[in-house]
């Protein structure tokens, strides 16, 4: 059973033909070529596949593609600026050395974005709880928390 669905992806409407058993991550990576979203465990434990659906972080590996219909999906590719420049959160991760192998980074950044969009001035505890569902196997959590803190300050100072 193939069905056409449409949804907003990084600000533009897309129409894709999906099957019932497709997950959102399959559509993003295999059909739309957006490979910034990573699949780690495939079971909702690691958060590498985190994307935003209607502004909330979800695991794209557990999200049935058909549930995306009519919703707004944001992936790591949607964060870059018009001239391909990094967003504030992305740049903060670079500045703070919050990236080692980089596999968890897109998911970390999407969770951080979801947090900062709803809470511009988070405490360290709030940052850590927002990132609970994102695992880093290189163990760089201290720098990651610092990066989110830096991004929070810079986003607040932005005119």
């Amino acid at each position: 059973m193939r069905i056409n669905i449409s949804f907003m992806l990084n600000g533009s409407e897309v129409v894709v033909e999906v099957e019932g058993h497709h997950r959102l991550i399959d559509v993003l990576r295999d059909q739309l070529g957006l490979t910034g979203t990573k699949e780690g465990c495939g079971k909702g434990e690691c958060g590498a596949c985190s994307v935003l659906v209607d502004g909330r972080a979800v695991n794209a590996c557990l999200y049935p593609a058909l549930e995306a219909e009519g919703r707004s999906v944001t992936t790591i590719e949607g964060l870059r600026g018009p001239n391909n420049e990094l967003s504030t959160v992305q740049q903060a991760f670079v500045d703070q050395g919050a990236i080692q192998c980089g596999f968890c980074t897109p998911g970390m950044i999407m969770s951080a974005k979801a947090l900062l969009d709803s809470n511009p001035d988070p405490t360290e505890e709030e940052i850590r709880s927002a990132l609970l569902g994102n695992l880093c196997r290189c163990t760089g959590y201290v720098q990651i928390v610092e990066a989110v803190r830096q991004a929070a300050v810079q986003l607040r100072d932005k005119p």
């Binding site: 059973m1 099957e19 019932g20 058993h21 997950r23 495939g42 079971k43 909702g44 958060g47 985190s50 659906v53 909330r56 972080a57 979800v58 695991n59 590996c61 557990l62 999200y63 049935p64 058909l66 549930e67 219909e69 969770s111 979801a114 709880s129 927002a130 609970l132 569902g133 994102n134």
Partner: protein, 281 residues
Amino acid sequence: MGRYNYYKPLSLDDALALHDKIPGALFIAGGTDVMVKIVNGDIEPSALISLRSIPELSGIKENGSTRIGSMTTISELIEHPKLHKRYPVLIEAARRHSGPQIRNVATIGGNLCNCSPCADTATPLLVLDAKVRLRSIEGSREIPIEEFFKGPGETCLSSSEILTDILLDPPQREARAVFMKKGRVHMDLATASVAVLLEMEKNTCRRARLAAGSVAPVPLRLSQVEELLEGNIISSELLDRAREISSETVSPITDIRATEEYRRRIVGIYVRRGIERLLKK
């Protein structure tokens, strides 16, 4: 991974009719358990019938008592402006439920129907004497949540029934409740969890409700501890006895998360600590 069709009915009647028509079809809520079971090869449904687009199953209504639609997500519970004041124990448990990405899609109905002994929302609902409403083609019925759980992954729900609502009585003003969970890290599935609700009249316990998770085939009411406490002054000796009974009456298993012995210890300690914490409030 198998192939299956995916349906998004817009009403309960349509969902039930679809299920009736398609052999091997399974209802799916937030999917954070069902999708994992499919990946693991534990289940091979011919079709999934999503309950997420059915308006009758969403929303929280308060009218003295409270009705929580089964498709309410864990995040929606936490963010609701009044629930944390009326039923703080439920919200404490919701906050300890997994991580943000799961909480944003996992539903309270799914948490109960998955029927894991460690379901975080089950123990608070047990101490709050919640009821659940179930609906099938034949009609609907209401049962106490205690009767809902039958075994690991097994509820009294027939395969063609849908849990539609969770019903809570108005909170008793004198009741205080607490939820405690042991996990290696914050978002872990519980190694053991305990919810305690007490209604005190001066030093005497008028009503007690206790429930424990991850220490029996189902989320478990600790009725013997309740009987021990009710009508009595809670002394240090009584607390010791409550701890002992809790450890003795549960039937935990040894698995990847903890040993049987450790779980017995933890549940006893948490029961004692939970009661003590409430007495200080």
